[in-house]
Each structure stands twice: as C-alpha cells, then as structure tokens.
C-alpha cells in the first residue's frame, strides 16, 4: 500500500520537525497562549500537514467543481463565468421610502433585491393593530396589504429583477402578494424568479417570529412548494436559514448541522405530501452566516455542499444534479458588529464577505457598519455594497475556482464539519426528526448553551472583540449619523390601510377570507385561496387571523 508508506514517512518528517525545529523555537519563544480556539470555541492545531488529510480521498471527497459531491463548488468555472449576486437586504419605513432605497441600490450596481419587512409584518399584524405600536417601519418596511406591496415595487420589473423576501410565518401571504403584483405588471409567473425565506423551523429554533403551531406552519410551507413547482417553476419557495441560528449563538457546526437537518425535514415533509423529489428539491435554497473566523466559515460552506449532495443521494436516492447541488446565500454576521468604534465594522464585514466568496456563495449581503446602532443610512449601505465590488473586481480572489481547496487546514476543517454534522443528524433522527427535536427543545438548548459559553469566554478575555474588551477607547464620541424612523410612519401606514379598505369590495373580501379558512380546514393547498383574498385587498392581518382561527397559535415551551 503506497499510501500507507507515504503517511508513515510523513509522520517521521513531522517528528523530525518537532524535535529539530519546533522544540528549540518554543524554548526561545513560547506561544502566546496555551489554547488557540475558533470563534466557535473549537480547538485549532498548531499546524496542519499531510497527516491531517490522510483520510480524505481526493476523488470522492473533493472531486472537481461542478461535480459530485460539489465540495469545490457547484459551477465548473466558479466565479469566472458569473460573479455572485450582490443582494443587499433593505427595508425601512414606508413602502415608498424603501422603493427609493431599492432604486438607489440598483443604480449603484446591485444585482438583486432583498426585502426586510418590519416586525408587525413578520408577525402577521397590520400597521393599525394595537400590537404594532412603536414597531411600524422600524426593523424593515411596513407592509399590510397588496396596496403596500404595489407601492414597494413601483418601477421595478419583477420579471427581470430577482427579489428575495425575508418573511416566514406569514410567507404564503407575501408570496401571494408578490405574485399578484407581478401579474399586474404583466409578468409571466413561469419566468419570474426570486426567493421566499419561508423557513419556519428556524423560527422555532432561533429567530422566534412564529404564528401558528409547528405542524400547521409546516403544512403552509409545503403548500408553497407544491404551488411553486406547478405554477412558478423558477421561484425558490424556501431559503433554509442558518443565519439566524448562528446569530442566536450557535457555533459554526451547529449552524451547519441544524440548517441542513432542517433542509432534510422539508424534503421529508414534501415527499410525504406526495411531491416529486426532483421537482421541488432543486428549488430549495440555503442561507448561511459569515462570521469572523475566516477558515472555519470557508470549511462550513464547503462541507455544506458535500453533506447535502451525499444526503440527497444516500438518504433520498436522488440522481438529478439539480437536486444534489446546494445553492446558498450568505450574509455577514450582524452579531459581530460593534457599537464601539463602529467604523471597525467595515473591516469585519470585508473579511467575513471574503469568507463567503472563498466558500463559493451564490449571493451575498454585506452588513453596513452602522447596523449595531440602527438601520443603515444610504451612505453606510453604499460602503457595504462597494465592499463586495472591491472583493469581486480588485482582489483577484474570483479568478480561480475554490482557491483554498487542498489547504491542509481547510480540508481538515471541512472534514471535521462533515463528521460533526452527521453526528447531529443521528441525534436528531433518533428523536424522530427535526419537528420532534424542536418540540423537545433540543436545538434551542444547544444554541442557548453555546451563546452562554461564548459570553463567558468573552468576559474571561479568551475571545477578543476589538474596541469592546481590548483596545477600548474611553469617552469615545459617537459621530456616526443614524437613520431615524419615527412614529409618523405608523400614522402614514394607518392612513394607507384606511384608503385601501375604503376602496375594496367588502363582500368579496369576506367571501375570499372564508375560502382561505375553508382550505385550511380541509387540508387543501391554501395558496389559491390566499391569492384570491390578496387580490381583493384583504389585509395581511385579516388573512393571518383567518388562519389563526383554524390553526391556533404557537406557545413556546419553557426551555
């Protein structure tokens, strides 16, 4: 076995280096600390060499770009053919204000849109609900009905611009509104593309903007899969998201494992509903975080592709390459941004974005440096976009495919990520699946524990945040201009709702809302009835309340 001989000679070489070079070096200059850890508190070795990748089979585990298991990327030419989509997440205030921001970003070279909705929208409440007080337009754009959605996309052709919508519990209603706006623009549903986040599992796990009980919510997700596969075939009805799981405190491995296991759960539910694997799975997309620890992140993305491809083949018997390929969006880590010395965030974002690119992301959002203070100003949003353009067009990193492939360190980490994720899969499978695991509070507890351990490491000084627990500037003067959203937004939105209500046909609204309820009660696909209700300008709050009447609401167990 020539391989074995090689390995043992490598081991001999390593021992020799250890004795002849390393030991005297350590005697002269001890290392800075006894343990070196990633931001996920994973131990990192001093050196990675051929022995660390001895178990990796170049052909089976790495292969070539565009070939199974896609460790090195899903496209044969990487970014040499087409750069990633620069898709900045934006939304604040009124639909008119956000529409202006969209047009500004498109004018400055952004290549796709991504809508941030406000908290009332995320929770399925209209702007005039008493629960919406103080929250309208604050964390995203306020949308309560088709009228707002029309204003949001005025002058933006939905047949040619792809739009990603971050909306989950009421996602089916937003998909319906989006499709009706597109239809009114004269767009062909068969041609429009875009993405709906629609990942309800990670809401119960991490982001916690839920409405209905888990199983009913999963049914709504499956409804969108089925509807899109039939009627909107180029649209991605889900973006399975690790982003929020990571922001809630998960390690890189937990983000990877829980997200992919969520993906498996959606595949299971789709198949159980009788959907065809190769018709709906190719339109499942993913969304990951890009945190500070550069190599750990790159390994995470590479492992994600390999695990997904292998799981689709081995667990579901997939053969169609579109089903095997994992496509993902990346956003830099909001949680890593600091209020202190906020301009430092520009540097953090650039490095995180670079990790996403080295990991082969399909689209990227770079955070604005002022996001630990408020929603971004025009200027801050522009610097964030320019950061991507600099990476793409000045650094040269997009000139070759998977530039870190073959690095002992990156390959060893990629392999470790895969093994760790498979262990989590086994634990979750043994609980009966992800829905059951979430009901037991398993991923929630794992994340909570990691968040606490990280905070302790930070307070011990084992982890450093520049400007926060090291290189602190006392009496720092805050000179960053911030975007202020006041209560006038809510008043404006309440007026808009009243105008829309005054114009609509009350009888048609009642009839279509009753049909939504009936579809939910019967277990029929709710999408057609939801689209009809949206067309009649039934509001978001009205539709969600009809579904609440049928499904009930989720109560979080104490965890």
């Amino acid at each position: 076995m020539p391989e074995l001989k090689e390995t043992s000679s490598e081991n001999l070489q390593r021992e020799r280096w250890h004795d002849e070079t390393l030991r005297p070096a350590l005697a002269r200059q001890p290392e800075r600390k006894t343990h070196f850890q990633t931001v996920s508190l994973e131990e990192v070795n001093r050196l990675y060499d051929p022995a660390d990748v001895a178990e990796i089979d170049v052909e089976d585990d790495l292969s070539y770009p565009g070939e199974f298991p896609y460790t090195r990327g899903i496209h044969a030419t990487g970014y040499r053919g087409k750069l990633w989509t620069m898709r900045q997440f934006a939304g604040f205030g009124t639909p008119e204000e956000t529409n202006a921001r969209f047009k500004y970003l498109l004018k400055e070279g952004q290549t796709g849109l991504s809508v941030a909705y406000d908290l009332p929208a995320l929770m399925g409440y209209d702007a005039d609900s008493s629960l919406s007080e103080g929250e309208v337009g604050k964390c995203g754009v306020a949308v309560s009905s088709l009228a707002d959605m029309e204003a949001l996309f005025v002058g933006i052709p939905l047949e040619s611009v792809t739009v990603s919508q971050t909306i989950n519990a009421p996602a089916s209603v937003f998909l319906a509104m989006y499709l009706v706006v597109a239809e009114k623009q004269g767009a062909d549903w068969k041609k429009i593309s875009g993405t709906l986040q629609n990942d309800i599992l990670k809401e119960y796990i991490a982001q916690k903007e839920w409405i209905y009980p888990i199983r009913s919510a999963m049914k709504l997700v499956v409804d969108t899969f089925e509807f899109c596969a039939l009627r909107v075939p180029k649209y991605n009805p889900i973006s399975v998201s690790g982003y929020h799981i990571r922001e809630a405190g998960a390690t890189a491995l937990q983000e990877l494992a829980f997200t992919l296991r969520d993906g498996i759960e959606y595949v299971d539910w789709g198949l159980r509903a009788g959907l065809d694997l190769d018709r709906f799975v190719p339109r499942i997309s993913f969304f990951f975080n890009a945190h500070n620890d550069f190599f750990e992140e790159v390994a995470k993305y590479r492992a994600a592709r390999r695990i997904w491809a292998r799981t689709m083949r081995e667990r579901f018997g997939a053969t169609d390459e579109r089903t095997l390929k994992l496509r993902f969006h990346t956003q830099t880590a909001g949680v890593s941004l600091t209020v202190q010395q906020p301009l430092n965030n520009i540097v953090r974002v650039a490095i995180q974005a670079l990790a996403g690119v080295m990991g082969g992301t399909q689209s990227l959002h770079t955070d604005a440096y002022d996001e630990a203070l408020a929603l971004p100003t025009d200027k801050a949003a522009l610097i964030a976009l320019r950061t991507q353009q600099i990476i793409a067009e000045e650094t040269g990193v997009a000139n070759t495919v998977d530039p870190l492939g073959g690095s002992y360190f990156v390959e060893a980490l990629t392999d470790k990520m895969e093994r760790g994720a498979m262990e989590y899969f086994d634990r979750i499978d043994s609980m009966g699946g992800m829905v059951e695991a979430v009901e037991k509070g398993f991923p929630q507890r794992e994340i909570q524990e990691s968040a606490y351990q990280y905070q302790k490491a930070l307070e011990r000084g084992d982890q450093t945040i520049v400007g926060v627990n090291k290189y602190v500037m006392k009496d720092e003067v805050q000179e960053v201009p911030i975007l202020v959203i006041d209560e006038s937004v809510r008043n404006h939105q309440i007026e808009r709702i009243e105008q829309a209500r005054a114009k609509r046909d009350r009888g048609a609204v009642d009839r279509t809302l009753a049909a939504v309820k009936q579809a939910a009660q019967r277990g029929d696909n709710t999408m057609p009835a939801t689209i009809d209700a949206v067309r009649e300008y039934a509001t978001l709050g009205e539709i969600c309340s009809a579904l609440r009447d049928v499904y009930g609401v989720y109560e979080e167990p104490a965890i």
């Binding site: 908290l119 409440y125 103080g134 982001q207 916690k208 630990a372 408020a374 929603l375 968040a451 400007g467």
Partner: protein
C-alpha cells in the same frame, strides 16, 4: 446592606414583537450565576403584562431587553405602570440597540441605566446590586 441577607429578585422582560432573545437569556443566566433570583417573562409581553409580573413576583429590578427600536414607546409605559401600582422604587434598566440621543430622555423618564451591546454581564450584575433600593 439589607440586600446581603436576601437575594435580589430580577424580572428579565422582553416586550414588543421582536423575537431576538439571545441577550435576554444570556443575561438571565448570568444574573442567576451571580446569585440573583431571576424570572424571565418569555417573548412578546405587553408593558401591562410586564408590570403585572413585576408585582406578582415582587421583584427589586426589571431588566428590559429591546433590540427593535421600540424602546421610546415601551420603556416609559413600563415605568409609569410600575409607578401606578406603587412600585416607584423598582429599578428599571434597559439593554439593547439604543441610539445615543435617546438615552438622556429614557433616563429622565425613569430608566436607571441603558446597557448597549458589548456590556459585560458582570457590569450589569454589579449595577443592579449597587442600585436596587434596600427593602425595609
């Protein structure tokens, strides 16, 4: 200090529609580890629910976590509801994403301290220990 013979009781509260509870949960556990008695309200509590919980649990301090920008609406209401029910001495602190210019007004309205991102949990625990009103 009368506090030395009884544990300080803190209500960690999460008002508004936001679901980002990482901070609230980390601080709840850190305060517990620092010897405080902690009650966590859970998500999406109205100011009325928070004030009622504060009364029922007879707490010395209320720690409010808001990241959504709704602090100017929610905090003054929590403070005034506490006062209305005779809990004017209850310490109210806020943690979250709060612009500098909002801080003086929040303090004027009765929020004792505002902790911005990056504050250590030890500093928060210490502030609460040093500022809760001694019980009679």
């Amino acid at each position: 200090m009368s506090q030395s013979n009884q544990r300080i009781r803190v209500l960690v509260a999460k008002p508004g529609l936001d679901g980002h509870d990482r901070g609230a949960k980390v601080i709840a556990r850190a305060l517990r580890d620092a010897g405080r008695e902690v009650i966590y309200t859970g998500l999406r509590q109205t100011p009325e629910m928070i004030a009622a919980a504060a009364l029922q649990e007879d707490v010395d301090a209320v720690g409010v976590s808001i990241l959504s920008g709704a602090h100017n609406t929610l905090c003054p209401r929590i403070v005034s509801l506490l006062r209305e029910q005779g809990m004017a001495d209850t310490l109210v602190v806020l943690g979250g994403i709060v612009p500098q210019e909002d801080i003086p007004k929040l303090k004027e309205q009765g929020v004792a301290e505002i902790f911005l991102p990056g504050t250590s949990t030890q500093d928060i625990a210490e502030f609460i220990r040093n500022n809760v009103k001694p019980r009679d």
